[in-house]
């Protein structure tokens, strides 16, 4: 059964003067999947999303949403979407339940406000003024508002930035819940763990361009096949460093951590232990890990996702 | 010492770039002066008004002579009373007088509520005078009003200008704390400073110094504009002027401190200060004489700092007299408020913002 893509984007472009914020990107989003745009700050993720949310005009490119070709996202399309903005506020002097009712009215829907609030664990705060809510509670309210029209397609722009770990975990479980209910989710993030944990499909963006896409497994498998061996060491004498290079495919130092790449783990481990004994360098916090998206990005661009 | 100097320069730069604050302290009073100066010039100024006149009876020349003695109104003659009446209603003339040989009738537009009082007075004077002179009489008793004010006062506006200067000083001092400083607290700029060895007194001294300069500059500009535009004259005692502007600026900073200490959130302070300043402006007799207010409001007015500031400014600009004792007590009181509250303000600066 061929499933029609919920969203298809072709050669989307947006310039700001000389800066190409979005530089001819194309992708498609399959229904009931979590699609993630991953990239460092300034990669163009939010701009892309804003174009798809209908609050920014693209300079060129095609958008096909729910099977309809659009120059610009229109009202009918918006009615089938839900948006969680990266940044935004509610009227500080409205109560949580008033906010939900207000947004529901934009879609011409009457909803059960208590139910919606319960779903984001804000049931007890129904009568609380927005200005009395904590950051995490405001974010949950924003999620409630994004889902008030029971949308088929949901945009989540950096949904966990600035949240504490507990709130982040809550958000992840909300996302997973939405996917289980058959919704399509488009997510942007610069957190590799988030992309890895939630996504069915990842597009890596950098400087406005799409530089790679695929499942997490595909990306790491294709582009970063080698195992990583890591340990902590503050500084190495040059002699020791060059010796280290010999026992692996590549070594680099990052913030006091030495990372070795190897395609032959046993051989490298043995050589490493030898080296440690010979140069009298202890191997603190020694660890072995599989490549992740961070490594993918690094190998593609030479830079880290998180600057 | 160096910290103070740097803070001082920083405060100057901030002020220069915050055109909003500059506007309110420099331009706002000027707009006030200009508008009020021209407006007040027009109220009930009978001598510049136009009077319509119908004479259809004897003693016309006598009546004209009486009118001429009454003032320098511009006289417009009419043949028929109906025309005069219409023109009064349409404000072609400001009021009218008609003599038919037995009755001297006045015509007034009922909607000119603020001016009719003066017109009525002139008319009554003319009626009295005409009545007597028709019978060949004059008043047996005359009244001579002799002005004994301290200067060549031009009237109510001479009183208004120092009041506006006082208000200008009030805003400068008040918003220095309940505005500028509270904003620094709200934005956590203060927090960043207090974790350094910077002493709060250096910051406060810098802010106070800048505001002092601002108070002087703004009041002087306003004063000179008033003099230049409206040909007013003031007999300014510069030493006392300097003393009072300095003391009251610091004193009103103290008042700003009280507000800052009482509000729950620093950002509310400037709103409250704004509201208080507006209310005070009305009750302190700056817009209109306090004598017109009901007693309880006059009494309330006596408790407002702005009232005393206005009176003191009137004294130092030579418009109203005051006992020297009262002046120095007032100045000392403002200075005293500042002295008492500055250490408290220092502690406020250092206290971290409650989350």
């Amino acid at each position: 059964m061929t499933q029609q893509a919920v969203l298809r984007v072709t050669e989307l472009t947006k310039h700001y003067g000389d800066v190409r914020a979005v530089d001819g990107i194309s992708f498609s989003v399959e229904p009931a999947t979590v699609f993630t745009l991953l990239g460092p700050n300034g990669a163009g993720k939010t701009t892309t999303l804003e174009i798809l949310e209908g609050i920014r005009e693209p300079d060129s490119g095609e958008i096909e949403a729910f099977g309809q070709r659009l120059r610009r996202v229109d009202r009918a399309t918006k009615a089938r979407m839900g948006v969680l903005l990266q940044e935004g506020n509610f009227e500080a002097h409205l109560k949580a339940k008033e906010v939900v009712a207000l947004f529901a009215s934009f879609f011409g829907r009457s909803v059960s406000v208590p139910e919606i609030l319960d779903r984001v664990a804000l049931g007890e705060k129904a009568n609380a003024l927005v200005k009395t809510l904590s950051g995490g509670q405001k974010q949950r309210l924003a999620v409630a508002v994004a889902l008030v029209n029971d949308p088929e397609l949901v945009f989540l722009d950096e949904p966990t930035t600035g949240l504490d770990p507990q709130a982040r975990r809550n958000m992840w479980s909300i996302v997973e819940g939405l996917k289980e209910r058959g919704k399509t989710l488009i997510l942007t993030t610069h957190y590799m763990e988030e992309a890895q944990a939630l996504s069915d499909w990842v597009c890596i963006m950098d400087h406005g361009k799409l530089i790679a896409e695929g499942t997490t497994r595909q990306l790491t498998a294709d582009l970063a096949q080698n195992t990583r061996v890591e340990f902590r060491a503050e500084s190495l004498p040059d002699v020791a460093r060059s010796a280290l290079e010999a026992c692996c495919l590549g070594a680099r130092a990052e913030d006091g951590t030495i990372v070795l790449e190897t395609a032959d783990l046993p051989r490298t481990m043995q050589a490493l232990l030898e080296w440690s004994r010979k140069h009298d360098v202890p191997l603190h916090q020694l660890g072995v890990r599989q490549p992740d998206l961070e490594d993918v990005f690094l190998s593609l661009t030479g830079r880290r996702l998180r600057e | 010492m160096s910290a103070f100097v740097h803070l001082l320069l920083a405060e100057f730069r901030i002020l220069r770039r915050s055109w909003l604050a500059l506007f309110f302290t420099l331009i706002f009073p000027l707009i006030f002066i200009v508008i009020f100066g021209f407006l007040f010039g027009g109220i009930g100024e009978v001598d510049r008004s136009r009077m319509g006149l119908v004479i259809s009876g004897p003693d016309g020349e006598l009546l004209e002579s009486v009118i001429g003695d009454a003032g320098t109104m511009e006289i417009v003659r009419y043949e028929a009373v109906e025309d005069l009446s219409t023109d009064v209603g349409e404000r072609v003339v400001d009021f009218g007088l008609a003599w038919d040989g037995s009755t001297l009738r006045s015509f007034l537009d009922p909607s000119r509520v603020q001016e009719n009082f003066a017109f009525q007075q002139v008319v009554e004077g003319m009626q009295d005078d005409f009545d007597l002179r028709r019978q060949g009489l004059t008043n047996p008793i005359g009244v001579e009003a002799v002005h004994v004010g301290p200067s060549d006062a031009a009237g109510w506006f001479n009183l208004v200008v120092p009041g506006i200067l006082a208000f200008s000083i009030l805003s400068t001092g008040l918003f220095a704390v309940s505005g500028h400083l509270t904003e620094m607290k709200e934005r956590h700029t203060l927090d960043r400073m207090i974790v350094t060895p910077m002493r709060p007194v250096a910051l406060l001294a810098a802010i106070a110094s800048v505001r002092l300069v601002l108070a002087f500059v703004s009041t002087l500009i306003t004063l000179f504009v008033a003099i230049a535009l409206f040909d007013l004259s003031f007999d300014v005692s510069w030493p006392r002027y300097a003393v009072f502007v300095a003391c009251s600026t610091l004193g009103t900073m103290g008042l700003g401190t009280c507000i800052a200490l009482l509000v729950r959130r620093p950002s509310s302070a400037s709103n409250i200060a704004n509201a208080l300043a507006m209310v005070m402006m009305f009750l302190a007799g700056i817009y209109f004489p306090a004598e017109f207010m009901p007693r309880f409001l006059q009494v309330l007015g006596q408790w407002l700092p702005l009232t005393h500031m206005a009176n003191a400014m009137r004294y130092v600009t030579g418009v109203l007299d005051m006992s020297a004792a009262r002046f120095w007590t007032t100045s000392a009181a403002f200075l005293g408020i500042a002295v008492v509250l500055f250490p408290i303000l220092g502690r406020y600066v250092v206290r971290p913002l409650r989350r």
Partner: protein
């Protein structure tokens, strides 16, 4: 429809729940109405006005029933407490028995300069003789005067001097009648005519004031409330949350405007009730032309607010523009003070100012003023401003923060 109504409700509710807005939009106009009604409503009503004056009668040799004594006794009588409990017009300071007149005068003059005294009446030596001679002369010369020392820069003093002059005019008349010189039967008749169609009586100040304060309330609501709400919500990205939904900008505007007008209705009701029941205003707005003008005013100022919002890049800039325009527009409009005799550049401002026309129109429609401007112009200028504001706003008002 629900979205528009809920948006209107949101606008009203957030205005009422925010203390700052509540103050400026409700408390301040009420305060202003109260103060102005209390103060200006009393000009001409001298019942509660009271002056401190001093009196020195230097004409010591005059007879006890002479003119000097008569003048002095008038002032004494006017400073005596009445049986009715009404406060006397004057409080009289007189020299004590062992105080010399010169010392007393010096002291009281100082009090006058300090604004503690309204006037000093000085009856000169030989006054009685001079008055007698004048009153009996076949051809009356210029009258002898007694002095009233006062201060020109003190309004109370000016008023006191004026009142004293009026008192003397009556005394003069009495004297001439008593001496048989003035023939009362030949006195002129006097009448005062209030000009205008419905003019039966002089307009009371509070009736003149109330339409003005209502308009001022609408004005500040439009000038500050509209740009404030829109710009702050835009800058804080409250609006952006709306634009990512299916809500079109147009419907938001309609809801917002409805909410704004509802706030104006609230202002009107509160001010009217206060004016009517606290200050006895009798003016009625229950006429078609008055109602239409109220609506026109509210809409004009709202449109003006949109104009300001279009011209400001940030919320602070918008508030600054509003503050700059606030005072000139309010005062150079005839709302509080008549605008005759203004220099050209200010008169031009008053002529372009929509407030000028709306104030005159409203006051005319409720019968406290006769219009001196044509009705067409009274409507055309505000409508012109609405059109201009709509045109500018539709092109320049940005609904989302720029990058």
């Amino acid at each position: 429809m629900t979205d528009i109504l809920l948006l209107a409700r949101t606008h009203v509710v957030t205005a009422l729940r925010e203390r700052v807005t509540l103050f400026w939009f409700l408390v301040f106009p009420i305060f202003l109405l109260t103060i102005l009604a209390l103060i200006f409503g009393r000009i001409g009503e001298e019942s509660e006005i009271h002056f401190d004056i001093a009196l020195v009668n230097r004409d010591v040799g005059a007879p006890a029933d002479g003119f000097s004594a008569r003048i002095a006794s008038i002032f004494v009588e006017m400073s005596t407490a009445k049986e009715s409990g009404e406060r006397p017009l004057f409080s009289l300071h007189a020299p004590s028995l062992d105080e010399s007149h010169d010392d007393f005068l010096a002291r009281e003059e100082q009090a006058l300069r300090r604004g503690e005294l309204a006037a000093i009446v000085v009856i000169p030596e030989g006054f009685h003789e001079a008055v007698l001679a004048t009153a009996m002369a076949p051809i009356m010369p210029d009258p002898p005067s007694f002095e009233v020392l006062m201060s020109e820069s003190d309004v109370a003093s000016e008023m006191a001097a004026g009142i004293i002059e009026q008192i003397i005019v009556e005394v003069d008349r009495e004297i001439l009648v008593q001496m048989g010189r003035f023939d009362e039967s030949a006195a002129i008749g006097r009448a005062q005519v209030w000009v205008g169609e419905d003019a039966a009586d002089e307009v009371r100040y509070v009736d003149f004031l109330l339409p003005g304060v209502i308009l001022m309330g609408f004005f500040t609501n439009g000038l500050f409330g509209v740009p404030g709400a829109i710009l702050f919500n835009r800058d804080r990205k409250v609006l952006r949350r709306y634009w990512v939904t299916a809500l079109p900008v147009g419907r938001y505007l309609v809801g917002f405007s409805l909410g704004h007008l509802a706030l104006c209705v609230m202002q009107f009701v509160l001010l009217y009730l206060l004016g009517r029941f606290a200050f006895g205003a009798r003016v009625s707005f229950a006429r078609l032309d008055a109602a239409l003008l109220l609506v026109l005013s509210a809409v004009t100022f709202m449109a003006f607010g949109f104009l300001i919002a279009s011209l400001a890049r940030t919320a602070n800039a918008g508030m600054a523009i509003a503050n700059v325009l606030n005072m000139p527009m309010m005062f150079l409009s005839g709302l509080f003070f008549p605008t005759g005799g203004l220099p050209t550049f200010l008169a031009v401002f008053a002529a372009v100012n929509p407030v000028t026309y709306l104030v005159e129109g409203l006051r005319t429609s409720v019968g406290v003023q006769t219009a001196s401007t044509s009705p067409i112009l009274l409507l055309a200028v505000p409508l012109g401003w609405i059109a201009l504001s709509a045109a500018v706003a539709s092109r320049r008002l940005r609904w989302d923060v720029a990058r």
